[in-house]
């Protein structure tokens, strides 16, 4: 056992994945990921090249260039950095380059805020990257290695980001079980690039103009590869369970069986929720939780299966789609729309690092537990339980 921060756990995992090129630019709270990688390379613990670029736009661009050479490539960023990368995110996913990114989540300016919410990664949820969300240091460590296996899978070939909250996970030290190198080597062999790689003997042009005659089909292929990654992640999860004795599923439930109210969300707030579920269960409350590990693609079948018998889904969003709902919420409602399913409600919490404490989650449970169609008709479905909305209005 070791006691590592989330960022250390991410870097230690990338090292065990034997990444060949690392390209990153400093930003809080990501910076220590690249610092750890630099130390591994300087100490000769990892045989890799590091590109200390001049911006995040170049960080991901250089990662693309490295991936196009056939190398296993790792990058990391947060927040504003991810926004600067936005153009290149689509470039990387469109070219089907299996780059893996560690993403300690942080809010977006303005106003300036360095603390954690999910605004950054959720804004780019439709950039064609697979998104995994870790809720502990152990999960960060496990997921980076899983992400490479998923991204490089011949049926997938998509870039993948592993998201975990800044500070709450990136900087908090937790006890974890490090992945043994020899077991990782067996789980994730050296890359055998099946993606687009520059080849002097077999030259071809990459990223050419695609006219309307072919563009929708290209997009559809990207879309179906995304959809396939749900099943492939399940296979990877099963193999991981077998080798490392920890289980991973695209969506994971806790005490869902007879639950009337299910608290739904992603990231570290789900470990706080677990604590609340245990406490309320002892008092006889019928509460459970659904932790979304894979948000893109959205595992809708799996989600429906796990939430089928609930009366209310209380969806927490640590982000806001201005003028509409949180950004997780529409995927949940869509999953049940046109079908007989639970009521859905949306709770905007934890923006800009406001701590999501057990009391907040208990309040959410109370509101959800009392809700029915009449209440929702009257009060609406979107709540800001930890924000002083009256004062502001």
């Amino acid at each position: 056992m070791e006691v590592w921060s989330g960022n250390r756990a991410a870097a230690e995992s990338a090292k065990r994945a034997r990444v060949q090129v690392v390209s990153a630019y400093p930003i809080t709270p990501q910076s220590s990921v690249m610092e750890y990688m630099a130390q591994f390379i300087s100490d000769g613990e990892l045989d890799a090249e590091m590109i200390r670029v001049e911006s995040e736009h170049s960080a991901l661009s250089a990662a693309c260039g490295a991936s196009l050479s056939g190398a296993r490539t790792f990058t990391a960023t947060s927040s504003q950095g991810l926004m600067l990368m936005a153009e290149v995110l689509f470039f990387a996913s469109g070219l089907r380059l299996p780059i893996v990114m560690a993403l300690p989540n942080r809010s977006l300016e303005s106003p300036v805020n360095i603390w954690s919410d999910h605004q950054d990664s959720l804004v780019v949820r439709d950039s064609g990257w697979i998104q995994l969300y870790a809720n502990s240091v152990q999960e960060v460590h496990d997921m980076i290695v899983q992400a490479f296996k998923l991204a490089e899978n011949e049926r997938i070939l998509l870039p993948t980001m592993v998201c975990y909250e800044g500070f709450l996970i990136s900087h908090v030290a937790e006890v974890l079980e490090p992945l043994p190198q020899e077991k990782v080597d067996a789980f994730l062999p050296e890359p055998d690039p099946k993606w687009a790689v520059f080849d002097l003997d077999n030259p071809f042009q990459i990223n050419e103009l695609l006219t309307p005659e072919a563009f929708p089909e290209y997009r559809y292929k990207q879309h179906t590869a995304m959809k396939r990654s749900i099943d492939v992640y399940k296979e990877i999860g099963a193999e991981f369970q077998e080798k490392f004795s920890r289980s991973y599923e695209p969506v994971m439930g806790y005490k869902v069986d007879d639950a009337e109210v299910l608290i739904v969300g992603l990231g570290s707030i789900m470990s706080t929720t677990k604590y609340v579920v245990n406490e309320l269960r002892e008092k006889g409350e019928k509460i459970g939780l659904v932790d979304i590990k894979m948000f893109r693609p959205f595992p809708e079948k799996e989600f429906r299966e796990i939430t089928r018998d609930a009366r209310v889904l209380a969806v927490m969003d640590k982000d806001i789609g201005f003028g509409t709902s949180g950004m997780v919420y529409p995927d949940i409602t869509r999953t049940w729309y046109n079908r007989d399913g639970p009521l859905t409600m949306n709770f905007i919490v934890g923006l800009g690092g406001r701590e999501v404490v057990p009391e907040t989650i208990k309040r959410i449970y109370e509101i959800a537990q009392k809700a029915d169609r009449k209440v929702i008709e009257k009060e609406g479905e979107i709540y800001w339980p930890d924000t002083l909305t009256e004062v502001i209005m």
Partner: protein, 295 residues
Amino acid sequence: MKLADVTTEEYLHHGGMACPGCGAYLGLRLALKALGKNTILFNVTGCIATTLIMGVTKIPYIHTLFENGPAIASGTDFGLRILGKREGVNLLVYAGDGGTADIGLQSLSGAIERGHDFIYICYDNESYMNTGGQRSGTTPLGAITTTTPVGKKISGETRPLELKKDMLEIVAAHGTPYVASASIAYPMDFMDKVKRAAETKGPAYIHLFATCPTGWGADPSKTIEIARLAVQTGLVNLFEIINGERRITVKVRSRKPVTEYLKHQRRFKHVLENPDLINALQEYVDKKCARLGID
């Protein structure tokens, strides 16, 4: 390099979609002749990236984003190195002036400063020709573009500082081991420089003056003549800077007045009617040539 040494091999198939008389397209054709087949081309968004859409290169090729050609090449440089495949491969970034002097300046500066081993050729046609001829950082004083039109109040580019952004000095200030200016009107000089750039360990930069008949309002048959006049008038100076030492590669015996160059292009039509502007341009050129020791 002698003419007889230039390969008859072509690395661009027929079918490129460049305009008649395109200087930038000719520049790429010559550069690839000098580099040979072991070259990966990072073609930055711009005119040439659009003209090569039908699979007309015979070498590995990527159409990059507008501002990230050097960053992608950086990744390939280190990727090939860690995989043990770097030896004997030229990495060529081919970019226009907008992609170089404006939106791509940061990634170019970063890749050079880090010392990546790559060749960067900027084909300078002095505006955003691919999008229809808008003003860029290298649009010279006085020139008409679609965003510096002739109007009742203001006409043409009115830049208050230099004649145009001087990429050569900017790149040289990085300590770049090989920096050169070139012109499509002097192909042997250009190809010599491309070869020297390829032999350089680390970054090499060539600023290639490339006529754009479409954007400049010129006769396509005069592409070479206009490029030659740019050199003969001193607007473009051909030199190389090797490890900080500047050497003039094409001397001009008696410089022609700038009007000789301006008069073939509709973009300078109003300049020719404005003695103050002509004098300002001539003054810039005289000063520059004196500083560089061209005369």
